[in-house]
Amino acid sequence: MSTAAVVESPAGSRVHYLNASYGIKSWLFTTDHKRIALLYLGSITFMFFIGGAAATLIRLHLIEPTGALVQPETYNKLFTVHGVVMIFFFLIPSIPAVLGNFLVPLMVGARDLAFPRINLLSWYLYTIAALLALYAVVSGGVDTGWTFYTPYSSTYAHTQVIATALAAFIAGFSSILTGLNFIVTIHKMRAPGLTWFRLPLFIWAMYATSIIQILGTPVLAITIVLLAAERLLHVGIFDPKIGGDPILFQHLFWFYSHPAVYIMILPGMGVVSELIACFARKRIFGYSMIAFSSLAIAVLGFLVWGHHMFVTGQSVYAGLIFSVLSFMVAIPSAIKVFNWTATLYKGSISYEAPMLYALGFIGLFTMGGLTGLFLASLATDVHLTGTYFIVAHFHYIMVGGAVMAYLGGIHFWWPKITGRLYPDGWARFAALIIFVGFNLTFFPQFVLGYLGMPRRYAVYPAEFQVLNVMSSAGASILGIGYLIPLIYLIWSIRYGPVAGPNPWGAKGLEWETPSPPPTENFEEIPIVTEEAYAYAEPEDVHG
C-alpha cells in the first residue's frame, strides 16, 4: 500500500455500521445509507451474473455460423434478457446505488441521505422489479430486444412483454427516488465550509446523473404505461390501425434511453476523477471544467436521441440537427479525457489495482467515444447502423467504460466499506485479465460490423467465423476476469488485513472517518477548510 495505515484499535472492539446490530431484520429494515448500499451491492452483483450468463450463452451460440446452441427464437430471448438485465438492473443502478449511496453522505459530510426511508424504498422497488424481470424470463421470456419497439411489443407480441416492461417501469421509480435523494442531499446537507467548488468531482458527477434520472426516467415510465395499456386493450396511441405511429414510441423511448447512457457513464467518470487524482498524487487538472462538463453532458444528452433513428424515416433536417448535436457531446467528453491525462502529467503515479482500472477506462472510453463519432455521421451511420459496429461501440462505453470504473471504484473504496484490504497482486492480475479479455471480445466486433454482420441474428455467413470465435474466446477470458474479484473480495471480508481509515493516503471526507465508518458517519460533523484533492504538489509546476 502506498502509505502507512493509521493504526486503529483492533477491529471488532469499535462499534461501526456493520456490527452496530445483527440479524436479518437489522438489514431489511435499515435506513442506514451504507447498509442500503450493501443491499444494492448484493442484488446488482446477482443480476450482473444473470446478465453475464445470458451473454455467455450468446457467445457460445455464435461459435458456429449456423448457431451452435439454441433455436433462433431462444436466441432472441437471450439477447433480450442480456440487454434488459444489464441495462435496467446492473448498469443504471451500479455506481449510483452502490458507491453513490455509500459515498454521497460521507463525501458531503452528512449523517445520512436526506430521505433514508425513501432510500430503503428504492431498494425494495429495485428488488420487486428484479424479481418481476426474472419471473418474465422463467415464464417464457421476452424477445423484443431491450428497446421494446412497437409493434413487436404491441400488435405482434407473443411473449412476456407486459411483465418485463412493468419491471423496467418499477426499476425506473427506484432510480428516480435515488436521484431525488442525491439532489436534495447535495443541495441541503453539505458540511459547513463545503462549498460547491470544494465538492469532490464524484459528487458533481452524481449530481449530473441525478438530474438525468429525474428528468428522463418519467418519460420512459409513461411510455411503458402506454405500451402496456396498448397490449392489454389491443388499441392505443402507437396503433397504426387508428392512425397511431409506432415511430412515436421510438422517440419517447430514446428521449429517456439516450440520456440513460449518460446515467451509466457519468458516474464512472466521477469515479475515475477520484482515482486519477489519488494515484497521481496531484490536484486534479481543470477542476471546474470537469465539473461543468458533467452538467454539459447531462444537458446535451437530452438533445441527441434522434441519432438512434437516422434510418427509421425521420426527416432529413431532424437527422442533420441530431447529427450536429451528437458531435457536440464529444466536446465535454474530450475535456474530461484531456484533463485526466493532464493530471497524470508530472504526477507521482503508482499502479495499484484501482488505478489500473482507471487507466483502462480512459483508453477504452476514448475508443468507444471516437467510434461514436462514426455513428453520429449520417452517411457512415447508414452503413454501420444495426451491425456489430454498434454492439462494439456501446460495449466499449458501457463495459470498457462504466464497468471498468465501477470495478475501479469498488476496489478503491472496498477498504472503507469493509475495513479490510484485498490481495493487491490478485487484484492487479484480474484487472489485466479483464482488460485483455474485453478487447479480445469486442475489438473483433468493430471489424465484423464494418464488414456488414448484422446484430441480433442467430446465424451468420461462414466467412465471419474466425472473428466470432475470437470474440467468444475473449468473452471466456473476460468471464474468468470477473470471477476472480468476486472470490478474493469475499475472502478479504474475513481474512483480509485491517485497512485503517485511509490506506491509499487519499484526500476527502470519507477517508477521515474510521473504516468501516460508524453508523452516523462522523463523531462530529467536520468543517471543511480547503479544496478537494489538496495533495501536496510533487514539485512547483509553475516554476
Binding site: K188, V219, L233, I237
Partner: protein
C-alpha cells in the same frame, strides 16, 4: 482536510419532529420542500410525454380531435375546474392554519379539501359512465353512433379518446393518491402532531395538491375547449 466542529446541534434540545440525521429544523424543512419540488419536476415530465404525444397527433388529425372534443360535456368539465380551483384555495388555507398553529381550522380545511376532491372524482366518474354508455371507450367498448362524430374519421376520434382516458385517468389516479395523503394529514392533525414549528408535511402535501390542480388546468382546455366548438 477538515477540523472537527465544536458544538453540534445534536447536543442541544431535540425538537419534536426533527429526524436524527438533520442538524436542525430549518435544514429538515428545506430538504423536505426541495424533495417535493424535485418530485413534482418528475411528475411534469411524466405528464409531459403524454402532452407531447397529444400535440403531435392533434396536429396530424385535427378533424378527428375536434369531433372527439365536441363529444365531451363542457359543463361538467367547467364545474370540475371550478371545484378543483376551490380545493386549491381550501388547501392553501389549510397550510396557513398549520403555519399559525390553528389545529381546528387545519382539520376543517383539510376535510373541506377532501370533500371537494371527492366531488371532482364523482363528476369524473359520472362522465366516464356516460362515455361507456355511448360506446366511447377505446379497446373496451368502442361502438359510437355515426350521428355522434359526423364526418370525422372514426380512427382519429378513437385516438382522441385514447388520450382522453389516459390523461384524465392518470390525473384521477393522482387525485386518489392525493385523497389518501389528505386522509393521513387529517388523522395526524387530529392527533395533534403539527404545530407552528412543525408543519412541513402539510405544506409539502399542499404542493402536491396544487400540482395536481395545475395539471387539470391544462387538461381542461386541451380536451374540452379547443375543439372548434365556438
Amino acid at each position: 482536510m477538515a477540523e472537527l466542529s465544536a458544538g453540534s446541534a445534536h447536543a442541544a434540545v431535540h425538537p419534536p419532529g426533527l429526524r436524527h440525521h438533520f442538524e436542525d429544523m430549518e435544514q429538515q424543512h428545506e430538504a423536505g420542500n426541495l424533495g417535493m419540488w424535485v418530485f413534482l419536476v418528475t411528475e411534469i415530465l411524466f405528464f409531459g410525454g403524454l402532452f407531447a404525444a397529444y400535440a403531435i397527433y392533434r396536429s396530424l388529425y385535427l378533424p378527428g380531435f375536434e369531433a372527439g372534443s365536441r363529444l365531451l360535456d363542457v359543463k361538467l368539465g367547467a364545474t370540475n375546474t371550478a371545484v378543483l380551483i376551490g380545493s386549491s384555495l381550501t388547501m392553501a388555507l389549510a397550510v396557513h392554519a398549520a403555519q399559525t398553529g390553528k389545529r381546528k381550522a387545519l382539520i376543517f380545511f383539510l376535510l373541506l379539501t377532501m370533500v371537494l376532491g371527492a366531488v371532482f372524482l364523482g363528476i369524473k366518474f359520472d362522465e366516464y359512465a356516460t362515455k361507456w354508455h355511448h360506446g366511447l371507450v377505446p379497446g373496451l367498448k368502442w361502438a359510437p353512433d355515426e350521428e355522434m362524430y359526423k364526418n370525422a374519421p372514426l380512427g382519429s376520434v378513437e385516438l382522441f379518446f385514447c388520450f382522453y382516458f389516459f390523461m384524465t385517468g392518470l390525473h384521477a389516479l393522482h387525485m386518489i393518491i392525493g385523497f389518501g395523503i389528505m386522509t393521513v394529514m387529517t388523522l395526524e392533525a387530529w392527533g395533534g402532531k403539527f404545530s407552528a414549528e412543525y408543519y412541513a408535511p402539510v405544506e409539502v402535501s399542499g404542493l402536491y395538491w396544487h400540482f395536481v390542480d395545475i395539471v387539470w388546468i391544462f387538461l381542461f382546455p386541451l380536451l374540452y375547449l379547443i375543439g372548434g366548438r365556438y
